[in-house]
Amino acid sequence: MSVLVNKNSKIIVQGFTGKEGSFHAGQMIEYGTPIVGGVTPGKGGMEHLGKPVLNTVAEAVQKLGADTSIIFVPPKFAGDAIMEAAEAGIKVIICITEGIPVQDMVKVKAYLNNKDCRLIGPNCPGIITPGEAKVGIMPGFIHNPGRIGIISRSGTLTYEAVDQVTKAGLGQSTCIGIGGDPIVGTTTKEAVQLLMADPDTDGIVMIGEIGGSMEADAAYWIKENATKPVVGFIAGQTAPKGRTMGHAGAIIGGKDDTAEAKMKIMESCGIHVVKSPAHIGATMLEALKKQTVY
């Protein structure tokens, strides 16, 4: 088992026929991901990469039974694409798009409050359940089916963690890239809750960065509810205050969103915090051996 996506998911690609959408849809299909079709308004009726193209998400739900969508729509239209998916009844919406205006996301987030769905991202690498479904832009080959869940706000740093976990002889249950924007659909805490409840996940790697309070919120929840070891890292220990470090959400505003403050809270909540990002895999292996019971 796993969380969010697996071999039985019925996945569509929004922005299917665009450059990004086509390239990554091709990679996903090659990985064996159950892609059932795609949506590009105005191109309904076509076939693309051997899959049907539909005009609306609602049609994709009706005709293809789609329950999961991955979005490659440009930032200008991405907020609208998320709402379309939610309205159509898609249960897991994964938005890869980087650069969506914050005020668009404020509205989208409020719109989703009354909908029965989960948004992952935006500005994220996606989700992968190794060996079953790659719903994102991550390189599939570094992953290995296994029992470690990984949560991260970044792309390549997630791959780094995955690679270390794989090299430590472990594998991944599901890796969730929650995204680097100030407003994301699923928070660190919510992603931790999903993996904590997953019977096929034995340990969790939680990678955060400067800005916001998501890691602290997750840590406090972990302190009270953890049943599995959690290894944590916060990127940006050397980042200056008030500067955006690449990700729109990676900015130190006050004293609570520095890496130091977050790591301190995480440590006090029983998380195995690593100061060096090179020690993620080895620390997870150690933690599992000790089988820390909270």
């Binding site: 990679q27 930032p75 200008k76 650069g99 969506i100 205006p101 914050v102 005020q103 668009d104 404020v106 509205k107 987030k109 409020a110 719109y111 832009i137 991550m138 390189p139 080959f141 570094i142 991260s152 706000r153 970044s154 792309g155 390549t156 740093l157 997630t158 791959y159 780094e160 690679d163 270390q164 680097g180 100030p182 407003i183 990678i207 960065e209 400067i210 800005g211 916001g212 309070s213 890292f233 990127a235 940006g236 220990q237 050397t238 980042a239 200056p240 500067r243 470090m245 690449g246 990700h247 729109a248 959400g249 990676a250 006050g254 890496a259 100061k275 060096s276 990002p277 090179a278 020690h279």
Partner: protein, 401 residues
């Protein structure tokens, strides 16, 4: 992207927010003309000369002066224009080099005729990440450092959250005006001020408005005396008029240049440069440098397409900093193939000829082995690594020398 005070005020005015009137000037002559015009149009007796730089605390550094007549105005404008203004927020703080003042705003005296009858407030609008809603933060303690007010007297800083679907409601405007202790005409004016301010915030896709102070004048008007405006870079496509107001003079020239190449670069004070794909991994790489005994000289995300041309531009930018004693390149190849990046590094190195700082290249992911071979067989002074820990060890060795 940040706006200057004079640009921010124009923006606010266009949404009906009452502002302290003013005219921007780049020379003393223009300042004199501006003061004359302002006196005719507003009837103001005194004028305020305000340095226009992207930093707060300008008054503390001598960048804001009251002129009681034309002679004083000339003197202040002459002193402030061209000065290196140091404030707690300019690079290096009050001990740093300061920022060159290229423009001044000549403003009317809104405190006249009775300074003591005026009252200063603090009002800001921003997006609250935890609540995922816009919020208006306000206080009766205007004209002061709000972080200090919040620390010492948290009960004096109040927040009003705005429903994303419904927008600001009239009862919320009334609540804010009442909580600021206003009544009568000033109360109504404040409610109007708040409504227009919020409209401007959403309309311009701002990420922060800070009005400090907002003034209740002697005749019960509410006026924005100062304003800090930050806009959401991701929304500038909707606001070409605002995007055109970007003042690159206020930004680090190297960062501006890097941006034109599609590189995301932030200049720092350290001695080890770095070049990384992805923002999270870039921050983590800076952390590795620090843990290995160095200090990061920069943040640099080369993005998804790290080809030879881009690697070379990144090299040139990093090497421009004379403090750089070593460079760590850390690429996790996913879609990007490591062998291509490696070839890019080798080509750039050869093209540039005279690189005389040690370079450590760590390539991991797609075709990492081929990449290592390309680096190792290039005959260049480049050390290669595959594991992050190996790269960290190499940095440690280089920094120790």
């Amino acid at each position: 992207m940040n706006l200057h005070e004079y640009q921010g005020k124009e923006l606010l005015k266009s949404y009906g927010v009452a502002i302290q009137n003013g005219i921007v000037a780049e020379t003393v002559e223009q300042a004199v003309e501006a003061f004359k015009t302002l006196q005719e149009e507003t009837g103001t007796k005194f004028g305020v000369v305000k340095a226009q730089i992207h930093a707060g605390g300008r008054g503390k550094g001598g960048g804001v002066k009251l002129a009681k007549n034309m002679d004083e105005l000339k003197e202040h404008a002459g002193n402030i224009l061209g000065m290196m203004l140091k404030t707690p927020q300019t690079p290096g703080g009050l001990d740093g080099p300061g920022k060159l003042v290229r423009k001044v705003l000549i403003g009317e005296d809104v405190y006249a005729p009775d300074f003591d009858a005026c009252k200063e407030f603090y009002i800001s609008v921003l997006m609250d990440r935890e609540r995922k809603q816009n919020v208006i933060v306000y206080s009766t303690e205007g004209g002061m450092d709000i972080e200090e007010v919040a620390e010492k007297t948290p009960h004096l800083v109040k927040k009003e959250y705005i429903d994303p679907m419904l927008g600001m409601q009239p009862f919320q405007m009334r609540k804010i005006a009442f909580n600021l202790g206003l009544s009568g005409k000033a109360f109504k004016e404040m409610a109007k001020f708040i409504a227009s301010l919020y409209k401007a915030f959403v309309g311009a896709d701002a990420s922060m408005f800070e009005i400090n102070p907002a003034l209740r004048t002697g005749d019960d008007r509410i006026v924005a005396v100062d304003c800090k405006v930050s806009l959401d870079d991701n929304a500038l496509f909707r606001h070409p008029d605002l995007a055109a107001q970007r003042d690159t003079d206020e930004e680090d020239p190297t960062e501006v240049e890097a941006k034109s190449y599609g590189l995301n670069f932030v200049n720092l004070d350290g001695n080890v440069g770095c070049m990384v794909n992805g923002a999270g991994l870039a921050m983590a790489t800076m952390d590795i440098i620090k843990l290995s005994g160095g200090e990061p000289a920069n943040f640099l995300d080369v993005g998804g397409t790290a080809d030879a041309a881009r690697v070379e531009q990144a090299f040139r930018i990093i090497l421009r900093d004379p403090n750089v004693k070593a460079i760590l390149i850390n690429i996790f190849g996913g879609i990007v193939r490591c062998d291509r990046v490696a070839q890019g590094v080798v080509d750039a190195y050869k093209n540039m000829g005279n690189i005389n700082v040690p370079i450590i290249v760590r390539l991991q992911g797609t075709n990492a082995d081929i990449a290592k071979k390309i680096i190792d067989e290039s005959g260049l002074e480049v050390r290669s690594a595959i594991l992050l820990q190996e790269a960290a060890d190499l940095v440690k060795k280089v920094v120790a020398n």
